[in-house]
């Protein structure tokens, strides 16, 4: 698509650097994956605390990354996603699926902490493809459950980033935002908080 730049360049337009930093650091040391919790909690802080989606609108590193690669450099086709991908049932269905997978990741962390399961030093892409990632963890550096949570969170972040990039390449730059579970949840919170306006 024809590159479209923001009208005024703001500091938060450079937050895509955080995404690159996050995935790079997690490649070398998986414990950095815990920093991904910032992207989980901040949207709720804005939605619950201020009743806005300012995180999505401005400060989301994922959104800025997709905007830069797809919108500014023109790697996106700029096509609108098919209607079924933009539909409410898909959006809420994906949110349900995503949260179930998040719950399963927490359960696996619990099993490792309870000694019922061995630590898996691997990143799981698309919730099924196991990719060895042993080099990023030094045994004994942290508790096994802390490492398990890091591997799980990194898997979730990397999988959603890959889906976002694929959607960006095939459709409009920020197509991921139309299905993003965090965006769906925070919009629901904002609507409830602002009395369904």
């Amino acid at each position: 698509m024809k590159p479209i730049q923001p009208i005024k360049k703001r500091w938060y337009h450079y937050l895509w650097i955080w995404s690159v930093f996050y995935f790079a650091m997690g490649f070398f040391n998986i414990i950095f994956a815990w920093l991904g919790l910032i992207s989980f909690f901040l949207p709720f802080v804005f939605a619950i605390g201020f009743g806005t989606k300012d995180f999505c609108n401005k400060y989301c590193d994922r959104g800025q990354l997709l905007r830069v690669i797809g919108g500014q450099t023109g790697f996106s086709t700029g096509k609108l996603m098919p209607s079924w991908l933009r539909s409410s049932w898909f959006r809420y269905g994906f949110l349900t699926f995503f949260m179930s997978m998040f719950g399963q990741m927490l359960y696996t962390t619990y099993l490792v902490s309870a000694g019922a399961k061995e630590l898996s030093e691997a990143v799981t892409l698309f919730w099924s493809i196991r990719v060895p990632w042993e080099w990023a963890y030094t045994a004994g550096s942290v508790e096994p459950w802390q490492a398990q949570f890091a591997f799980g969170l990194y898997s979730l972040m990397l999988t959603s980033a890959i889906i976002g990039i694929l959607l960006m390449l095939l459709f409009k730059p920020r197509s991921w935002c139309a299905v993003c579970p965090m965006g769906t949840m925070t919009q629901m919170i904002c609507k409830v908080r602002n009395n369904n306006e």
Binding site: T52, C177, G183, N194
Partner: protein, 67 residues
């Protein structure tokens, strides 16, 4: 004299995901995300450039003609 027709953006609230893509690219600053729920356009100031429609990932922005 005939009526002057002008283009302006319109947002379908139920479809909008409030991502803010439109707000970011509006040259007049007339598209705003309202209370984290939907984007709204001040059509009296909109110049109908269509940038917001081009970036909207949800297909919630369309261009309409008003007299």
């Amino acid at each position: 004299m005939g009526n002057v027709k002008r283009r302006h953006a319109a947002v379908e609230r139920g479809v909008c995901v409030a991502c803010g893509s439109c707000e970011d690219v509006c040259p007049r600053g007339v598209v705003k995300v309202m209370k984290g729920s939907y984007a709204a356009v001040d059509i009296s100031l909109c110049i109908g450039c269509g940038r917001c429609e081009m970036v909207c990932p949800a297909g919630a922005v369309t261009m309409e003609v008003a007299e």
